[in-house]
């Protein structure tokens, strides 16, 4: 019992903190803070595996705090409690890569415990892998940087855009790349089976199929493919799902300038190389291996079936 994991709860409501710490206390060493400043202080003094913060707090908002935590303690897994949706803050935090999961308030103790437990395990796994890679190849990250130029061109798969739109979007990209594009999900699956896709750029609006489910399906089969959502659907629930279910790299709302899109793609391509080189960095993959999603929803099942069908078709045609 001496080796309980450290977790930190941040909320401006002391009674919520006390109630939560009571139910978590048996399994974790629980630290509490009533505001961002206190929380940062605790983070600096203790090794915190998981931080759970409320979004709405006086002084420093939750996503701001988590952004700072990411810098101070990058391995700390960050969870955000959102009472009611604050769209701009959510979109910002999604794209800043600050958050592992969004949790809706109120949340059952059981669910919260699960989430925290997942977070703790991911943290431990990442730390362990970091130690492994450090001992195995201490200077690897440096060589990675040097090798960038020699890397094969990034393959970009656009799903749900017109060729003209793709032409325009890719006009300012500075790294070498190959463009694949698909208008239907079947085409997308075919493309994914045919080539190794570095970055998947997708809309969310596919009629009967749920965009997030599509990405989730892809992520399960091709965990190293980095996903970017480019859509005109501005919806907090979608944004939260894109993080919680797909761990999306960027959620971009239209319109977007070619320059900033190019920057996003360059970063995504880099991220893809990092995943290939050091798979433990892939938090989604780690999460999946620890706790596979319980049951696929019907929509997702259908999508998975499509993917399998596409794969079979491809194999047949090759043989």
């Amino acid at each position: 019992m001496s080796a309980l994991s450290n977790i930190l709860l941040v909320d401006d409501e002391p009674l919520l903190l006390s109630s939560l710490s009571r139910v978590l206390r048996l399994h974790y060493t629980v630290f509490t803070a009533e505001n961002g400043v206190q929380a940062l202080d605790i983070i600096q003094r203790n090794k915190i595996k998981v931080i759970v913060s409320d979004q709405r707090m006086p002084g420093m908002l939750g996503h701001e705090l988590l952004g700072k935590v990411k810098d101070i303690s990058p391995n700390t897994v960050r969870l955000l409690l959102t009472g009611y949706s604050d769209l701009d803050a959510i979109l910002n935090s999604v794209n800043a890569g600050q958050i592992f999961r969004y949790i809706n308030k109120p949340c059952s103790v059981e669910k919260l415990r699960e989430m925290i437990e997942l977070g703790v395990q991911i943290h431990d796994r990442i730390v362990a892998m970091q130690n492994d890679s450090k001992t195995a190849a201490p200077a690897k990250s440096a060589t990675d940087q040097a090798k960038t130029e020699a890397e094969p061109p990034a393959t970009l798969l656009f799903v749900g855009y017109t060729p003209a739109e793709i032409q325009k979007l890719t006009s300012k990209i500075n790294v070498r790349f190959i463009v694949e594009h698909a208008t239907t999900l079947d085409e997308a699956f075919a493309a994914l089976n045919r080539v190794s896709v570095s970055v998947l750029i997708s809309d969310l609006n596919f009629g009967e199929h749920d965009g997030i489910d599509f990405l989730n399906t892809v992520k399960k089969e091709f965990p190293h493919t980095v996903t970017v959502i480019l859509t005109d659907i501005v919806d907090a629930t979608m944004a939260i799902r894109s993080i919680n279910e797909v761990q999306v790299f960027r959620y971009i709302t239209k319109p977007v300038s070619e320059e900033s899109f190019a920057r996003t793609i360059e970063e995504a391509a880099k991220k893809h190389r990092t995943y290939q080189a050091t798979p433990h960095q892939n938090i989604k993959l780690t999460a999946e291996t620890i706790s596979p999603d319980q049951a696929f929803q019907t929509s997702a099942e259908k999508l998975r079936a499509k993917l399998v069908a596409a794969r079979i078709a491809l194999t047949k045609s090759r043989s």
């Binding site: 009674l15 109630s19 048996l26 009611y84 059952s108 103790v109």
Partner: protein, 569 residues
């Protein structure tokens, strides 16, 4: 003028010619006539000379007879003297021209003879007359009796020469007659010529006039033809114009009719539009209300959510503890059973288990936890209850619409409602008067307070926000000031903020009706509302409403009716 002269030149010349001709004829003929008269006198007197010479001879003879008979010779002698005198005058007049005694003894001017033959005859007559004159003079001069010899001499001379003298006088007379006839012929010729010339001139003039008249006629005809043409054209034009006018008139009438129709349609449309507008306005006010309500509900949801979250957590935790406590209870029941049944074997086992359980519960401080959980949950529930009561207070649904109400209570309940908006932005500083009551529509006033407090919180964009609410009583007015230290309102917006639909928020994030509705509400309370602001320093809204509304029925009624308007809106 010159043109006129030019135009009348011919006439002037003709008339002048005519006048000259006539005048000259007149002059010539008058001269000639004068001459003719003189000539006639000459003829007459020359002819009279014959008679006079014969009378001289006769009187001589009478004198001779009378003398011879011894009678007085005075009578014939005087007659002779007179006759002699007249004859002498006349013959001298014929030669030299002079005044002589004419017929009837009037004095006339006698002009000398002109023709050469007449002059010759006259010379010869003088040759006879001069010696005769002397002889006669002696007869005339003699008194009483004439010497015979003189008388004889005279009679002899007379009988010898009288015939010759008579002839000569005849010649002279015929000469004069001839001259007279010549002259009268000339005169006639002149007169006839003059008349003919005048006539010619007249005809020329006449012809000229006629020609002129004719050309004028032609011109007039041409002119009048032109005129007619022009009149025709004009008439046609006029007719066309008239027709156009008639057409215009008709179209005007038509337009007027259409206008009337349009007018009536317009009126109808205006009515429809007004209705639509009213409808839209109602909808807008409704949407503003809904927006405010949405904001309020979201805030309240958050406010309720927090106690709900920890109460739920506590209950979940307690259900876990409950399992342990139930297990202990069960174990102690079993222990009791064993005791009753003297089941020593099991008794020991149960006792150990129970001790273990109790130890675990004690170590985990579970009992303390449970009491804390219960207490805190109750606190949470209290908070939720407070919120609900406050919501009721804020809306005042269960109270009289219009009453003498505690303004501070209204502000406080509003602050609780708005807590969610304020709490992350600013602290609230209250500077309340000891007591502040006013006759009002409390729910509506709360709406105003909520709007002002929300605005104040939204204006604050830094970490040191402060919202100050100050109340006082001034001159029978309840005064409420809501100040913030936010970004302030630019001057150009300041006098527009109470305008309906004025908003600086992006489209879709505010109807711009909030403050205008507040303004209406305060107006309905016969109060005033104004704003002071400085960019970067802050904003203060001041509300003043009468503590007591006027007691006269009309005012109260009007307040009520106006307030009910607002309710409808």
């Amino acid at each position: 003028m010159l043109g006129n002269l030019q135009k009348y030149r011919e006439i002037i010349i003709s008339v002048a010619l005519f006048l000259i001709l006539d005048l000259s004829v007149l002059v010539v003929s008058s001269i000639t006539t004068g001459q003719l008269e003189s000539d006639a006198v000459a003829v007459n007197l020359a002819s009279r000379q014959r008679e006079l010479s014969q009378r001289i001879v006769k009187t001589l003879l009478q004198i001779q007879i009378a003398q011879n008979a011894g009678h007085s010779i005075e009578g014939p002698q005087n007659e002779l003297a007179t006759t002699f005198k007249i004859f002498d005058e006349t013959i001298e007049g014929l030669r030299d021209g002079r005044l002589v005694t004419g017929g009837d003894y009037k004095t006339v001017m006698l002009i000398p003879v002109e023709t050469d033959s007449a002059k010759v005859y006259l010379e010869r007559a003088f040759l006879i007359w001069n010696p005769f004159k002397e002889k006669l003079f002696r007869v005339i001069a003699a008194k009483n009796t004439v010497p015979q010899e003189d008388l004889q001499d005279a009679v002899e001379y007379a009988s010898n020469n009288n015939l010759l003298l008579l002839d000569l006088m005849n010649f002279i007379t015929s000469e004069a007659e001839k001259k007279l006839s010549d002259k009268s012929n000339t005169l006639r010729t002149i007169q006839i010529t003059g008349i003919i010339a005048a006539l010619i001139n007249f005809f020329i003039l006449l012809f000229h006039f006629i020609r002129k008249l004719r050309s004028q006629d032609a011109e007039i005809t041409r002119y009048s033809e032109n005129l007619e043409k022009m009149v025709d054209i004009r008439t046609r034009e006029l007719r066309t114009a008239q027709e156009q006018l008639r057409a215009t008139n008709i179209s005007l009438e038509k337009a007027k009719y259409e206008l009337e129709i349009l007018n009536s349609q317009l009126e109808q449309k205006v009515e429809e539009r007004t209705a639509e507008l009213k409808n839209t306005q109602t909808q807008l006010i409704q949407s503003e209300k809904m927006a405010a309500l949405g904001q309020m509900v979201a805030g309240l949801a958050h406010e309720v959510n927090t106690p709900l979250a920890f109460v739920k957590t506590n209950l979940e935790g307690m259900s876990e503890f409950q399992k342990e406590i139930f297990a202990i209870l069960e174990e102690s029941n079993k222990l009791c059973e064993s005791l009753k049944n003297d089941d020593i074997e099991n008794l020991d086992k149960h006792l150990v288990r129970l001790a273990e359980m109790q130890e675990r519960v004690n170590q985990a401080n579970t009992m303390q936890d449970i009491s804390d959980m219960l207490r805190e949950s109750l606190t949470g529930m209290d908070r939720i209850q407070e919120l609900v009561i406050n919501l009721k207070n804020f809306s005042r649904l269960d109270e009289a619409e219009y009453k003498y109400a505690d303004i501070h209570a209204g502000i406080d309940s509003t602050l609780l409602i708005a807590n969610n908006i304020i709490k992350n932005k600013a602290r609230v500083v209250k500077e309340y008067a000891p007591k502040l009551y006013a006759e009002c529509y409390p729910a509506q006033l709360n709406q105003v307070f909520l709007n002002l407090i929300t605005n104040a919180a939204q204006a604050i964009e830094h970490n040191d926000g402060e919202i100050k609410i100050k109340t006082s009583i001034e001159d029978g007015y309840a005064v409420i000031r809501v100040s913030d230290n936010g970004k302030g309102i630019p001057k150009e917006h300041l006098n527009r903020i109470f305008e309906p639909f004025f908003t600086t928020k992006p489209v879709g994030q505010g109807t711009g009706l909030g403050l205008s509705i507040c303004y209406q509400i305060i107006e309905k309370h016969f109060g005033v509302m104004h704003v002071e602001s400085q960019v970067g320093v802050g904003t203060t809204f001041t509300i003043k409403i009468p503590v007591k509304q006027k007691r006269d029925g009309a005012t109260t009624k009007s307040i009520r009716s106006r307030a009910s308007d607002l309710q409808i809106a």
